[in-house]
């Protein structure tokens, strides 16, 4: 949207005002995330810039909150729990979600819309309702306050994301390819792993990433279904903010921002790979 040479002064003024407005909104979006990074190196246990920090005095900065995070047992437990729960939940939701997406994208599938609506519901229902429902029922069948309970709950929350991304990938999928493989003598299992899977892999991986981040970032269900034994990073942060506010939380937050940058990069690379495979050139 370059400014034409014949633009009137008013248009010119608006053009630049508009860009300034957008810049302000971008700062609003990204600024808060970057403010916490310097704060996490605070020498003092406050959530604010000290005069020493502002004068760039090295004494005002310290990495002790990171040390605390890496040495304190409860944080290390939280990292471990978060990873275990997220990995297993992702596995379950990816396998079940991919299978279901394969079924739902077949033209012979009956009641497609109804099934889709049911299976998407974990994404729609407000988390607090899902969490309280699971809280009562999981206690009833004896899996509340266990890792298994939290994993199953997170798997249920993650499946819609896998379902949506894989279904989207399958929309551009040439359904004659598995048939070709079959006529060439491949059995269904071979067809799936050698023909279908490589083509839908970007969708499966990005769905899995969504499921992973859903579990890794989830706190409401863990608060209700889990107990201290299952405390995850978000749980520690939530109770940390409520009880004693320490810059360790900011250190963890900074590390999590790095994790999300990593995730974002992976997704972007996947998207580019998908475009390359489909022969779409980025203009």
């Amino acid at each position: 949207m370059p400014l034409p040479i014949y633009a009137s002064p008013l248009e010119r003024a608006w053009h630049y005002t508009y860009r300034v407005i957008c810049a302000v909104i971008f700062v609003f979006l990204i600024g808060p995330i970057f403010v916490i990074i310097p704060l996490s190196f605070n020498e003092l246990p406050y959530f604010t810039f000290t005069p020493e920090m502002l004068s760039l005095d090295p004494a005002g900065y310290s990495t002790k909150w990171y040390r605390e995070f890496f040495t304190e047992a409860s944080w290390q437990d939280a990292v471990w729990n978060s990873l275990v729960i997220a990995v297993f939940a992702t596995l379950i939701s990816t396998v079940l979600g991919t299978l279901a997406a394969l079924g739902l994208s077949r033209s012979e599938m009956p009641f497609k819309t109804a099934f889709m609506a049911l299976l998407i519901s974990p994404m729609i229902v407000p988390l607090i309702i899902s969490a309280t429902g699971m809280y009562f029922f999981y206690a009833l069948i004896g899996i509340s306050s266990t890792h298994l309970g939290v994993i199953l709950a997170h798997a249920a929350l993650g499946t819609p994301f896998v379902l949506i991304t894989v279904t989207a990938t399958l929309a551009g999928f040439d359904h004659s390819l598995p048939q070709v493989a079959a006529t060439l003598g491949a059995n269904p299992v071979q067809t799936f792993f050698k023909v279908t899977m490589p083509l839908i892999l970007p969708g499966v991986v990005s769905g899995a990433l969504f499921a992973f981040i859903t579990s890794f970032d989830e706190v409401v269900v863990v608060l209700f279904v889990g107990s201290v034994e299952q405390r995850t990073i978000p749980w520690k942060m939530f109770s940390g903010i409520r009880e004693e506010i320490r810059p360790t939380i900011l250190a963890v937050a900074t590390l999590l921002v790095c994790v999300s940058i990593l995730l974002l990069t992976t997704l972007e690379l996947l998207r580019r790979r998908g475009e390359r495979l489909r022969g779409v050139r980025a203009s």
Partner: protein, 420 residues
């Protein structure tokens, strides 16, 4: 096998082609179903059934019947409009039930349940539990009234009579700030107990405000992203996607660091001389904090659908409007904006749905005045243990969300939902 003599087309083994094709279709349908089945079963057992089970608590009223089984049966014969008090047999049943429940320590549950309807019932049952343990024989009615004269009050009995059925509407009424009067008419709660309508109203208008703010901030940014060359817009998109992918708690923490009275924004304003040291603004633990933090968190959900719709609008439309004499403003309002209605609808409903069910951010930065329905559901589940009321509030919230979701489905279609 008899040789076919008719003109029906057959497969190699002699079955008519039509039937054979039908069978093949059924088989492939079953195969498709079989692929969906594991997930369906999983979601049903670990997600949908638990929610249904929880929501049933909003009408479930088996406490009185299970703790006071004899009384619940005996009282059915009592007609509150004819006799002031139930007869001796009901009192005897009550004494036996209270004695049994006192021993099993379940009496408190019934007291708590009835206390929701009528304050003081909890203490009445506590007192009666101790007293009834000493009653050994008739006259039961006089002895119970001697323990507490409220047993001689017909309103106590009307309440037990009403709540001895298996289902109740009391929780839903309570969620709408209503209750049943002694005579069974629906009346409003007394003034200090009217909190839920205000709460629903607050949740709705704050979600509405958040949605409007997201639209106001998201529209110009999406337009910029959609009209810039792809090379630049992809880079700027990172500024939208990074917050989207960043942990919710990280973003909430960031806003606490920025907004608190000793926080960054207050520091800057004091430093710039806009505020005095004592005049620091209270920007968090109130409505303002909740709205700001939630707009930040939900803004990507507005920008992404808007962007994907704006991306499909050919730039030639605006040029055509300009060449026909429209001013840039007219061209934008009359030509461009109507084309983005689908994106606006999708984004707004998405943000609104997410917003009315939000729990974490209001719980952390909402303080007392910036909390939502979700926070009260959590309160009733975790602290006051009034699960029936929590379920009724949950059912109302869920109904609202599902209605909005149906509209969303009409506009966008679930199948077209895009992520990231």
């Amino acid at each position: 096998m008899p040789t076919p003599t008719d003109d029906v087309m057959r497969t190699a083994d002699g079955t008519p082609l039509k039937i054979s094709l039908q069978r093949a279709l059924v088989r492939s349908r079953l195969r498709a179903l079989l692929l969906v089945l594991p997930l369906l079963a999983f979601v049903l057992v670990f997600f949908l059934f638990p929610i249904g089970h929880m929501l049933f608590r909003s009408v479930d009223n088996r406490i009185v019947g299970s703790v006071l089984p004899r009384t619940a049966v005996a009282i059915q014969d009592w007609d509150p409009d004819r006799a002031k008090l139930p007869d001796e047999a009901v009192f005897e049943a009550l004494v036996r039930d209270i004695q049994a429940a006192f021993k099993d320590r379940t009496l408190g549950r019934v007291g708590r349940r009835l206390n929701y309807e009528k304050p003081g019932m909890s203490s009445l049952f506590r007192k009666s539990g101790r007293g009834a343990a000493r009653i050994t024989g008739a006259p039961y009615r006089d002895r119970m009234i001697a323990i507490d004269k409220r047993w001689g009050d017909s309103s106590t009995w009307r309440l037990i009579h009403r709540e001895s059925g298996a289902l109740t509407s009391a929780y839903f009424l309570a969620a709408a700030d209503l209750k049943l009067s002694e005579r069974g008419a629906i009346v409003r709660q007394p003034e200090p107990r009217r909190i839920y309508l205000t709460l629903f109203y607050r949740t709705l208008w704050m979600s509405g405000l958040i949605t409007v703010l997201c639209l106001l901030l998201g529209y110009p940014v999406s337009y910029l992203l959609a009209t810039l060359p792809l090379r630049i817009s992809n880079l700027l998109m990172i500024l939208v996607l990074l917050p989207f992918w960043t942990s919710l708690l990280v973003r909430t923490t960031a806003w606490i660091a920025l907004l608190q009275t000793e926080g960054v924004l207050n520091d800057i304003m004091v430093f710039a001389g806009l505020l005095s040291e004592d005049g620091r603004l209270q920007m968090i633990h109130n409505k303002f904090g909740t709205v700001v933090a939630m707009v930040h968190i939900l803004l990507p959900f507005m920008i992404l659908p808007l962007y994907s719709v704006m991306k499909t609008i050919p730039p030639s439309l605006m040029r055509a409007a300009r060449s026909l004499g429209a001013t840039p403003f007219t061209a934008f309002v009359r030509v461009y904006m109507p084309n983005t209605v689908a994106g606006v609808g999708a984004g707004c409903i998405m943000v609104f749905i997410l917003s009315i069910g939000y729990y974490i951010t209001p719980a952390l930065v909402g303080g007392r005045t910036g909390t939502f329905i979700s926070n009260f559901i959590a309160l009733h589940v975790g602290e006051t243990l009034n699960w029936g009321l929590a379920a009724a509030l949950g059912a109302l919230l869920l109904g609202l969300v599902l209605a909005l979701y149906l509209i969303y489905d009409r506009i966008v279609g679930v199948d077209n939902m895009k992520l990231g």
